[in-house]
Symmetry: C2
Subunit: 260 residues, 2 copies
């Protein structure tokens, strides 16, 4: 298609095709790996809805690649590439952006006066993405994740957040930071989702206080050192026989109880 265009350049009035270099393709493909995302401070955003949300956010965009025929309003700084080139950088999307990762420094004072979500070893990208999407629904915009939590810039996570990632302050920290938050604000409450705690009443009781809600790993739950920091162990009442709930499901029911 690019060649066809070049052959009839003078009479052609459609979109301007750009050339994507082999090196650009290599860089974009490498961003599926965490190490590369960290080294280059970049991540991928795929799909029309998600790129729209990205462009509305404060995140700095490096480049947007689109197909001539797939997007209605191609912006002047987008790079129009051929379907063949697109298939080399994206598996299913007609639109792909490369963006700069946000790296906010945690503002401990500010965090100690907010309701925050804490993730202790969430490993499944779909779970993390769904949790970020749900936190966005409930107006929770600060998340502290243990360092063994899956990378929030993993493309599967980005996809599942449905744009929530672009409105979320995500901090990967040692979770002992929670003790600092408590020191700064004595009314800061720490809730932990466990299978054998009391019911959800503490979430309702301390709804108006700042605090942290901790969700543990999918199979191991909250790690031992972090369990020691919990003020209120909370458990979703069970009526049936399932052994446990999915981590994103637990997080959502608890966020709903805490925020409404």
């Amino acid at each position: 298609m690019a060649r066809l265009y070049l052959a009839s350049k003078l009479s052609y009035s459609g979109p301007q095709f750009n050339v994507i270099s082999k090196n650009d393709i290599k860089v974009i493909r490498s961003l599926h790996r965490k190490k590369q995302r960290d080294d280059m401070n970049l991540f991928l955003v795929e799909g029309e809805k998600l790129v729209d949300e990205l462009l509305l956010s404060e995140i700095k965009v490096k480049s947007v690649y689109c197909l001539a025929q797939s997007t209605e309003s191609i912006k002047s700084d987008w790079l129009v590439i051929t379907p063949r080139e697109m298939s080399q950088i994206s598996t299913h999307s007609p639109l792909l952006a490369v963006a700069y990762k946000l790296k906010p420094e945690p503002d401990i004072k500010k965090l100690s006066n907010q309701k925050i979500l804490v993730l202790d070893g969430i490993r499944d990208p779909g779970n993390l993405g769904t949790i970020i999407r749900t936190a966005d629904w409930f107006g929770i915009h600060s998340i502290i994740a243990s360092k063994d939590t899956v990378d929030c810039y993993n493309p599967k996570v980005v996809q599942a957040t449905m744009g929530g990632l672009f409105r979320c302050e995500m901090h990967y920290e040692d979770l002992s930071v929670l003790l600092e938050l408590k020191k700064l604000n004595s009314s800061f409450r720490i809730f932990g989702a466990v299978l054998s705690g009391q019911d959800l009443s503490p979430l309702a009781e301390y709804k108006s206080s700042a605090g942290a809600l901790i969700i543990g790993n999918e199979s191991l739950g909250i790690s031992e050192p972090v369990q020691l920091m919990i003020d209120h162990q909370v458990t979703i009442p069970r009526k049936g026989v399932a052994e446990s709930l999915n981590a994103a499901i637990s997080a959502s029911i608890l966020l709903h109880e805490w925020s409404n």
Copy 2:
């Protein structure tokens, strides 16, 4: 390994290796396709935890394949196969069962006196599996799904239910059956999860009545003809800016509100 055993048969006291035929391998692999599952009335269950749950359930099991070294208590009717054979029938599990699908006829009278979950076009296997797992937690054991809902015997669904599928009565029906339930029980309430309804108070108000909670398709919501059957449109209060919630997340928060 099987050959090694045969060579030293007289002195060998470990597990008896069985032969899995090429045809058995072909049949098992074909059960990843819905048409084959329907034609043969069989489905696959993979993994130790899930096979354990299967054996505790009322579901009839056709065969169980295991590895000699991977399971502590190999039952006498299990078929012990080599790792090479296992890799031909299962991608990641040391234990695989082939079981007969349950085909319960919907008991309309009984359903009209229960709390049931209704799924209108859920397409994502992970979502369906998570919804079944969560319904199991909340003691909801009858699910009516529209015929375009993903097959509950899809291996990804089975995996995500974490055993909930084995305790669940799943009916694929035209959703006009809901009108029959209402005819049989005038206090049967129909709730629909929508983005622009009232809050969740009807779920609390009619908690003790029989009724149906309808969850719609991931991107399209509840289909138009089904919307007409809804008595109470319910919406999860939003505090933030996300456009919507994942279908399994919505289902879970609503089931929590309805059952507690």
